[in-house]
C-alpha cells in the first residue's frame, strides 16, 4: 500500500518526521546514493540548509510550488518554498553541500549526467525545499493556478485520484503535528474555523507541467521518494575554496562570498551547468 501512495504523489510528512531526528548529512546522502545509484527504489534525503543544486533542464509533470514551514532544531519554524513534482526528467544534476569538521571546511559534490542534452535523469515523487531558485527559463504549462493554499496543491501523476496535501503542511492548529509529548511554538499565529486552519496563509502555485532551464538554487532539504536514476554518478570531496563572489547584477568579482567556488551554486552563476 505504501508503494501505491508513493506513486500517487510526493509525501512530505516522511521528511518532516526525519527532521526531528539527527539529520542526514550529505555524506550520508553519498552513501545512500552509492548504494542506490542504479535507480531502484532510492530514497534521497538531505537536510541542513546550506546545500545548493543545479541542472541544465528539468521537465516536471504535475509540478507545484508552495510555501511551507519546516521546524528547525531550535524548535522554531522557518518558511521555505517547497517545490514538488510527480515525476521529472533532468538534463544533468548537481548537488553540493559544505561541511565543517573543526577548522576544516570541505564541500561534498554530487554530479550526474550523460553529457548530452537528453533528460537522462529520471526521478519520481520528488520535493525540494528552497530559499532561492533561479532559472534562465521557468515555464509553467497547461493549467496553472496561483493562490491556492499549499494544502490544496496536487503533485500526483495525470490519473486521479490525487493525494491530499502531498506537501504535508499542517492543516490543523494543534492536530498532533508535533507528535506525542512534544511542545514548541505553533506554526500558525492564531486559530480559527474550529482549529481547521487548512493551510491558510501558505500560498502556492500548481501547474500541469513545469519546464525549467538553467536552474539552480539554495537547497534546504530534498527528498526523492520514488525511483531515481543517476547515470555517471560522480561524488567528490573538495577542499573549501572561496576566492570569488558576485556583484548584484550577477557578474563575478574577486570578493569571497562564503560559498565554495566549486559548489553547484557558484558554478551555475558562472554559466556552468551539469549535463
Amino acid at each position: 500500500m505504501a508503494d501505491v501512495e508513493q506513486r500517487h504523489g510526493t509525501r512530505w510528512r516522511r521528511a518532516a518526521a526525519v527532521a526531528g531526528t539527527s539529520l542526514a548529512t550529505l555524506g550520508a546522502l553519498a552513501t545512500l546514493t552509492w548504494q542506490q545509484a542504479l535507480g531502484l527504489d532510492a530514497t534521497v534525503v538531505i537536510q541542513g540548509g546550506d546545500a545548493t543544486f543545479s541542472s541544465s533542464r528539468i521537465t516536471a509533470d504535475d509540478a507545484a510550488f508552495g510555501m511551507a514551514p519546516v521546524r528547525l532544531g531550535t524548535g522554531t519554524w522557518k518558511n521555505l518554498l517547497r517545490a514538488g513534482f510527480a515525476r521529472a526528467g533532468m538534463d544533468g544534476l548537481c548537488v553540493s553541500k559544505t561541511e565543517s569538521v573543526g577548522p576544516v571546511r570541505y564541500t561534498i559534490k554530487l554530479t550526474s549526467g550523460d553529457g548530452t542534452s537528453a533528460l537522462e535523469i529520471g526521478a519520481a515523487d520528488a520535493g525540494f525545499d528552497v530559499t532561492t531558485l533561479r532559472g534562465t527559463g521557468i515555464n509553467l504549462q497547461g493549467s496553472t493556478q496561483i493562490g491556492q493554499a499549499t494544502t490544496d496543491l496536487t503533485t500526483a501523476p495525470g490519473a486521479p485520484p490525487y493525494v491530499a496535501n502531498p506537501f504535508g503542511v499542517p492543516a490543523t492548529y494543534d492536530g498532533g503535528f508535533f507528535g506525542p509529548g512534544t511542545t514548541g511554538p505553533q506554526v500558525y499565529g492564531g486559530t480559527g474555523n474550529g482549529g481547521h486552519v487548512n493551510g491558510q496563509g501558505y500560498t502556492g502555485i500548481d501547474a500541469t507541467r513545469g519546464a525549467l532551464t538553467g536552474v539552480y538554487g539554495q537547497l534546504w532539504q530534498a527528498q526523492v521518494s520514488g525511483n531515481i536514476t543517476l547515470p555517471n554518478l560522480r561524488i567528490q570531496v573538495l577542499a573549501f575554496k572561496d576566492d570569488a563572489g558576485f556583484n548584484a547584477d550577477g557578474t563575478p568579482n574577486t570578493t569571497p562570498d562564503g560559498i565554495d567556488d566549486r559548489s553547484c551554486w557558484s558554478e551555475a552563476r558562472q554559466g556552468t551547468f551539469p549535463r
Partner: protein
C-alpha cells in the same frame, strides 16, 4: 454627437447578457482531495471556492468551474507606472480582456471572506520584449521592472506565525497566457492598469471619465493616459469600454487572490487543460531569467 454615441453604447451594454446559471462540473474528491472544510457543516468542502469561468466572450458563463481552497494571501503584480501621463511608454499588452464584479462571496481556507473582488479574464498579458513586441510603443530594452510577490502578512488569521514574502523577480519580460490559453484573476477593486486614451472608444478623456477612470496628460481632452481600475473595467460600461479588445499597457498594479489559466471555455478545466495539437501542455506562464526567493 459624442453624447449620442456614448448613450447608444451605454444602452447596448444594458441589454440582457447570458447569466451564470449554467451548472458546471461538480467538485471531485479525485481532483480536489484536500478537505477544505468548516467544522459543523455537512459539506466537507464548505470553504472551497466555486469560481465559474469565462466562456471566452466575457459572459462568464462557461460550464467549467474551478474549486480552489484559497490561501487568503494577496499576490501583487506591478510594472510600469499607473499614474503616468505619457502614452508612449508602453510596458506590454493585455489582449481580449473582459471583467465583471465577482458575484459570490470569496472564502479563504479557514477564516475570512470578501465580497468585493472582481473577475478579470484575458487571453494574454505580454510584457515588452523589444521595441516592437508586442506593441510598437515598447522600449528597446523591453520591460524589466516587473514585480510579483505575495505577503503572508496580508492574510487574516489564522496564518503563519512567522511572516514571509515570496518574491518572483524576473529580469526580463514575462508572459501570462497566450494562444489557446485563457487566464482569469480574482482581483481587488482598486487594481488598475493604465492605457493610452487613444485606444478608448472616442479616444477622449470623457470616455475615460465616463467609466470611472482617471485621465492624465494629453491636450484639450485628447491624448494622454487613462488609469482604469478593475471596478471601472467591470462596471456597467465595461463591455463598451473594451470587452474583447487589446490594450497597450503603460502600467499595471494588480492585486489578486487567485489566478488560473485554462483551456478556453472548458466544460471541465480539471480534465481539459490547454494543450497543443500533439497533446503537450501549452505555456501558461513564462518567466525568463527569474529568481524566486523567500524572505
Amino acid at each position: 454627437m459624442l453624447g449620442a454615441v456614448l448613450a447608444l453604447a451605454a444602452a447596448c451594454v444594458l441589454l440582457p447578457r447570458a447569466g451564470d446559471r449554467a451548472l458546471g462540473q461538480a467538485q471531485s474528491g479525485s481532483y480536489q482531495p484536500f478537505a477544505c472544510d468548516q467544522p459543523g457543516s455537512s459539506n466537507p468542502q464548505q470553504r472551497r471556492q466555486d469560481v465559474q469561468l469565462d466562456n471566452g466572450a466575457g459572459d462568464f458563463n462557461a460550464a467549467g468551474r474551478m474549486y480552489p481552497c484559497l490561501a487568503g494571501v494577496r499576490w501583487h503584480l506591478q510594472s510600469g507606472n499607473v499614474t503616468t501621463s505619457n502614452p508612449d511608454a508602453a510596458i506590454g499588452q493585455i489582449r481580449t480582456a473582459y471583467g465583471r464584479k465577482f458575484p459570490n462571496t470569496v472564502y479563504y481556507a479557514a477564516a475570512g471572506s470578501r465580497t468585493d473582488l472582481y473577475q478579470v479574464a484575458f487571453s494574454g498579458l505580454q510584457f515588452c520584449t523589444g521595441d516592437t513586441t508586442p506593441v510598437p510603443a515598447c522600449a528597446a530594452g523591453g520591460t524589466t521592472d516587473i514585480q510579483l510577490y505575495a505577503d503572508s502578512g496580508d492574510a487574516p488569521q489564522p496564518k503563519p506565525a512567522a511572516p514571509y514574502r515570496l518574491t518572483i523577480d524576473p529580469d526580463q519580460a514575462i508572459t501570462i497566457g497566450g494562444a489557446g490559453v485563457w487566464t482569469e484573476v480574482l482581483a481587488t477593486a482598486n487594481s488598475s492598469f493604465t492605457v493610452p486614451v487613444a485606444q478608448l472608444p472616442t479616444a477622449t478623456h470623457l470616455a475615460c471619465g465616463l467609466v470611472g477612470g482617471t485621465a492624465r496628460g494629453g491636450f484639450l481632452g485628447i491624448g494622454g493616459t487613462c488609469e482604469l481600475s478593475a471596478a471601472d473595467f467591470a462596471g456597467d460600461l465595461a463591455q463598451w469600454l473594451g470587452g474583447g479588445e487589446n490594450y497597450t499597457l503603460l502600467g499595471v498594479n494588480l492585486d489578486f487572490y487567485y489566478l488560473v489559466t485554462h483551456r478556453p471555455n472548458p466544460s471541465d478545466p480539471y480534465t481539459q487543460v490547454p494543450v497543443d495539437g500533439s497533446g503537450n501542455p501549452l505555456n501558461s506562464i513564462q518567466l525568463p531569467n527569474t529568481t524566486i526567493s523567500v524572505g
